[in-house]
């Protein structure tokens, strides 16, 4: 109970500090949403040139974009700022976090809860809702469950990727933008049918890292399409399991990182 109160205090302080610069806050809210709007616009522009990309129509691709951006926006709002970890490690702020009697990860997340990213989550889910409406989906109880779970699973998966790539800073402080290749890169990867990618690149991102199960396979399962790449129809329903696996790996990596963290002494 005391712990919860401490988190609430951290959250409240954060909200008050953000809202004291109201104009900046509003611009950042709009800007953040704009980023996701442009991601979706990019897909629309590409489909202007051709009716099919990788064998999929615009409507079908939008379903993948919807799951991916709803999940990514949610993950980015809840855990995205963990990528500031390298700043905290370098500046020594992490030491202050570690000596408090609360777990480090939730504290770090609440130190900078980006309320500015809230509207973007709404937009992500709007795209997903629109995509569900324009596709002719044959609803079964399993598909209803899948559509309810998929964005959450995608968020958990992206969240895990955020934590893992941020934890890289425990071993390599100067990792710079490298994490972005997997977080933002993963979002771009999952926004398109994975049939467009070359074989080894797809093998690495889609299957070895698991990004295929974020949006592509669930979208196929919802549409009732067979996978041109040969995975069975139930593969889409694995997405919550894959997310759970990713979260387990992320927890392990984070713990290992915290254990081997040595303060920079500054």
């Amino acid at each position: 109970m005391g712990e919860l109160r401490a988190y609430a205090a951290l959250l409240g302080a954060q909200a008050r500090s953000v809202l004291s610069y109201r104009a900046s806050f509003l611009v950042e809210v709009a800007g953040n949403m704009g980023a996701t709007v442009f991601d979706v616009l990019t897909v629309l522009v590409l489909f202007r040139a051709t009716p099919r990309v990788g064998g999929f129509t615009l409507e079908q691709a939008l379903l993948m974009v919807g799951i991916s951006s709803a999940g990514f926006a949610l993950a980015d709002m809840l855990v995205g700022n963990v990528d500031r970890l390298k700043v905290y490690v370098r500046a020594g702020t992490l030491d202050a976090v570690l000596v408090r009697p609360l777990p480090a990860l939730p504290q770090l997340l609440l130190m900078d809860l980006p309320l500015r990213k809230a509207l973007r989550v709404v937009f992500g889910f709007t795209v997903l809702g629109g995509a569900i409406a324009i596709n002719d989906i044959d609803w079964t109880p399993a598909r209803v469950a899948l559509v309810a779970l998929a964005p959450g699973a995608a968020a958990a998966f992206f969240g895990s990727i955020f934590v893992i790539s941020a934890a890289l800073a425990f071993w390599w402080v100067e990792s710079g933008e490298m994490g972005a290749a997997f977080t933002y890169g993963g979002r771009d990867f999952t926004s398109y049918p994975i049939t467009v990618y070359g074989e080894w690149f797809r093998g690495l991102f889609a299957y070895a890292l698991g990004f295929a199960f974020v949006a592509y396979q669930p979208a196929l399962a919802l549409l009732g399409r067979t996978d041109p790449l040969g995975l069975p129809g139930w593969a889409g329903y694995l997405s919550p399991l894959v997310a759970l696996l990713a979260a387990t790996v992320a927890t392990g990596v984070w713990r290992a990182g915290i254990r081997q963290y040595r303060s920079t002494g500054s």
């Binding site: 442009f38 990019t42 522009v45 040139a49 049939t195 467009v196």
Partner: protein
Amino acid sequence: MDRIDARVLTISRLRPFRSSATTFGVLIGSGFRRYSTYRQATIAGSFTNIVFGFLRCYVLLAVVAGTGTQRAAGYDAEQLATYVWVGQGLLAVIGLWGWTELAERIRTGDIAADLLRPVAPVPAYLAADLGRALHAMLTRFGPPLLAGAVFFPLHVPSRWQTVPLFLLSVVLAVVICFGCRYVVNATAYWLHDARGPIMLWTLGAGVLGGLYFPLRLLPEWMTVTLWLGTPMPSLLQAPLDVIAERDPPGLQAGLVGVQACWAVLALSLAALVQRRAERKLVVQGG
């Protein structure tokens, strides 16, 4: 004592120019050296550029394959691959994102030290930025291009003027981008906190600069309006269209001409904003 030695008063007409050119050169050198100390960040950044190169290249090639005509928006597959990979190489050279130094200095009051120097802030920051760009050209441009050339067939320029035009275009793009970033950062003189304008810039420059997709995919009236009405397409789209030889030679040179106009405009605007700011500046902090 009534005979004054007139020679003392003869000042070489070239001397002020020569000394400011020397200062400018020294500042470029120090900008270069500053960035050459971030070696690990250079490696990490190149890795990220290469991953995004693969992502964008595969998607655009799938678009070309989908049209069934082997061309999309006037590019063939090899030209699009060149567009993507040279674009990833240029990203760090142009320095599209992440420059908040001036805004930070204004917010903290450190800008006062810059104003006391005998070199005006705009040329001083421009020189440092040219040094940064030169360093990025030597370290960050090559790796993505090499990765692209290994995994995809790229378009090899067939006209003699393409490579010199491309280099000129890159220099102009660096200058335009610097001018824009300076103006965006300088809003901190009035707002104290330039996060909002910087965010809008980050957002607009990526999409309207041609990083996410070639702007030629948009309807033609929109592309032309953007190109003539905003400096954004001159940042990335122009050098990339030059190296990909997307257009006939006349238009190819014309793109660089448009860039030259924007370079002059952007620098003048930066200088103007700086002058206006100096008139009302109250230095923050103590």
